[in-house]
Amino acid sequence: MRSENQPLIFEMSREGRIGYSLPELDVPETNTDELLPEGFARKEAPELPEVSELDIMRHYTALSKRNHGVDSGFYPLGSCTMKYNPKVNEAVARFAGFAHIHPLQDESTVQGAMEMMYDLQEHLIEITGMDEVTLQPAAGAHGEWTGLMMIRAFHEANGDFNRTKVIVPDSAHGTNPASATVAGFETVTVKSNENGLVDLDDLKRVVDENTAALMLTNPNTLGLFEEDILEMASIIHNAGGKLYYDGANLNAVLAKARPGDMGFDVVHLNLHKTFTGPHGGGGPGSGPVGVKKDLIPYLPKPLLVKTEEGFTFDYNRPDSIGRVKPYYGNFGINVRAYTYIRTMGPDGLKAVSENAVINANYMMRRLAEYFDLPYDRHCKHEFVISGKRQKKLGVRTLDIAKRLLDFGFHPPTIYFPINVEECMMIEPTETESKETLDSFIEAMIQIAKEAEENPEIVQEAPHTTVISRLDETQAARKPVLRYMKKEPVEV
């Protein structure tokens, strides 16, 4: 039997109970009727729960126990870089001088915050090999769209209004084509070859005078380094297009290869991946964008600059694409990333990528005997295996993922990239020990054996979680998206 449900906080509510301590109302009161226009004073109170402080703590503590995080156990989710989230980052982000400052304070009163931002930009410029960085985008997808808007502005400034197409590999993250659409482009897909890399012939075929940009993740989502990157760059550049780097996989190449040196014109980073901003259950992230010189005029405004009198935000940027976010980005996440970079230093960052790549290759080699390995070559920080062999036995990749839950592991990314059948994408990161990797490998081997000998145990997994598989069809057909108080039945 599984554990009891945790009631919704609304179901715990009891009239008259409170959980707050508000300041005194120490000013003389005015009649509310005089303060609000007629019909604008709320009549029915919002149905928020009425609970005590201990009720709240117990409720959320119970919920937290029904949740798996990196601190709970291994989280080899490919392309998500679920590495350890250092606690010192959390402490620094909570310093009053960082957490409790208002974005519109006079610049002279927030020079420390601006100095941190500027120094982070300088560090990211060096790490990526770009010429300038903005910290404004809130997340990776937001950074993609920002970068594409800049590319569009660049082409339009050159009178190039027909560059309407963005090329995206078939292995790309879903955000790439979606961001292209939101930035007003059409998406063209370029195929991967049998080695899992962009097919150069297909690239030459799809490139033309309408090409605005090629978006690329390198290493790609199969965990493979695009070896022909320089040739790809020249194909795109010769056609007048720009090269966009999706930084989701930067953890593989810190101090090993810089996007700027590979020929990329625009880069976005996911500070919540490579640079340890916690994922927070889905966010907040931070998605700074770096550019080469010719795109600097189009950066979002304001741009943080250093002058003799100190740091200032420059709003006088006539060619800027404008604002992409109120204020200056997810500062709190940027503080965490900065703390991390300063904790690691140049040697540390290099070791991060080396260890991440060793861990991934080690796991790949040990699993290769039990699962199909579609691309048999050294990987970078992540790799894909296929559950094709197990599928023939009636065990799907989804089942394998669910069975891993019974061993206390978060499953890998599954069914992505979409060009690999029954795909499992595994990214161990550098912060996991060999013992952890070994125990995950052992679990995977056991599951592979179960698929042959006792497939039901895999097909019916998970067996140990607080809840079994959920009916997602019902959730989508008859959506229940909020709690509704049940009206008492009248007698």
Partner: protein, 447 residues
């Protein structure tokens, strides 16, 4: 190299390389063409120990004037409000903050349920049917509302009030440019949307009428009248709203809004120099399947137990790719959780009381400033912000206030040519009578 975040020992490395079948780490990077392989060392600051770095960064943080040591009357979209101490305790539980998006519901019930509760609370406050799991912030939610409206009405022009937050409006303009949507400003008059001008601008080409409530100048827009004009031409009615104010104000949902957006920062989220905060997005049932971002829904497991999953994912980028209606991928889950804790702590009683206090304290401040001889501009109904006029430039006044450890209001002249020497003052429940009286005393000389 030895580092506390890197557990690989020399022995581990030797064994692992052997299993892989290579003799050195470098071999694993040989697929990077030599021409682009980075040589040498990154030119960044050397690593620091934990204590040394804490000390350095604490000193850097101390260079900033924070709102705990100083008294803040600065709002303009980001506010100094009550933040229950338990909020940080809850979000510091690392099962929450070190988790990824809850794509594996069996081990993510905690997060999913917390978000389901957040959706319910936002729907309750705004008076809407459905709210999503959160957005980046109020500004980008506002822009996404315009895109949804354009898609829904198949029209390419939105009307946005001149009394919305200028930074939200700027973000909207950037998004609109990407989608070739035309943005037309409805002028403000006396600090509110000019209804006559709105009437003149309305046509069957308009996808949405977008206003803020309370608006950027603190005033309460006549949503009832704007709604009639918007719906009269079958345009979407979009309202950006400070959710805390809805403890006192009639919710936009009850006044006919189709989409209500905003930021949950007022629920005790750290101001954090502008982010991360927590956008929200609420709609009528009719628009449920068009909402950007993630949604959590209730369902049952195989044994009939109640549980929660991410749902209606067919809308989203990871499924629809270039056909997706929005490219948003992440949300602000941790901040949605944080604001839920505050909303829960406040509860049905506290949300009304906190809103009432804002209304009363701001009204008192207005009265005291008037008594000090200052001119309160526009004069209409306000919530917790209002505008005053000063004899001197606002930046100069604020520099002097800072000497008394007061962070003054927002300089409206920065965004509005016709509002030089005007200051937007925010008075939240956190301000005491004494602090308000001191502000009036200090500002007297600029009357």
């Amino acid at each position: 190299m030895k580092h506390r975040y890197l557990p690989m020992t020399e022995q581990d490395q030797k064994e692992m390389l052997k299993t892989i079948g290579v003799s050195s780490v470098e071999e694993l990077f040989e697929d990077i063409p030599e021409k682009v392989r980075f040589q040498g060392e990154l030119n960044i600051k050397p690593a620091k120990t934990e204590s040394a770095l804490m000390k350095e960064l604490a000193a850097l943080a101390d260079k900033n004037a924070d709102t705990q040591k100083n008294t803040s009357f600065l709002g303009a979209g980001v506010y100094d409000h009550y933040s229950p101490v338990i909020m940080d305790h809850v979000i510091s539980r690392s099962e929450f903050y070190t988790a990824y998006t809850p794509y594996q519901p069996e081990i993510s019930q905690g997060e999913l349920q917390a978000i389901f509760e957040f959706q319910t609370m936002i729907a309750e406050l705004t008076g809407m049917d459905v709210a999503n799991s959160s957005m980046y912030d109020g500004g980008t939610s506002f822009a996404e509302a315009a895109m949804l409206s354009a898609g829904q009405t198949k029209r390419k022009k939105v009307l946005v009030s001149g009394a919305v937050h200028p930074e939200s409006k700027a973000v909207l303009e950037t998004y609109a440019a990407g989608q070739n949507i035309e943005v037309v400003t409805i002028p403000e008059k006396d600090g509110v949307t000019d209804l006559e001008q709105l009437k003149a601008l309305m046509s069957d080409e308009i996808a949405a009428v977008m206003v803020q409530y309370p608006n950027f100048f603190g005033q309460i827009e006549r949503l009832d009248q704007i709604e009639q004009l918007a719906h009269g031409s079958k345009a979407m009615f979009v309202v950006s709203s400070n959710p805390l104010s809805l403890g006192a104000l009639t919710p936009p949902g009850a006044l006919g809004a189709d989409i209500v957006v905003g930021d949950a920062q007022p629920f005790g989220l750290p101001q954090a120099f502008g982010g991360p905060h927590c956008g929200y997005f609420a709609v009528t049932k009719k628009l449920m399947r068009k909402v950007p971002g993630r949604l959590v829904g209730e369902t049952n497991d195989e044994e009939g137990q109640r549980g929660y999953v991410l749902t209606l994912q067919a809308r989203e980028q990871h499924i629809r790719r270039d056909k997706a209606t929005s490219n948003i991928c992440s949300n602000q889950a941790l901040n949605a959780l944080a604001s839920s804790v505050t909303m829960t702590a406040l509860g049905k009683q506290g949300i009304q009381e906190i809103a009432h206090q804002n209304l009363q304290k701001a009204a008192y401040a207005k009265k005291q400033l008037k008594a000090a001889g200052l001119h309160v501009i526009n004069g209409g109904y306000t919530f917790n912000e209002f505008v005053i006029e000063l004899k001197k430039p606002v930046s100069e006044v604020n520099k002097n206030l800072m000497k008394k450890q007061i962070i003054g209001g927002y300089d409206l002249g920065r965004d509005f040519e016709n509002r030089q020497n005007q200051m937007l003052i925010a008075v939240t429940e956190q301000r005491t009578k004494e602090e308000i009286d001191l502000l009036a005393e200090e500002l007297k000389q600029y009357a």
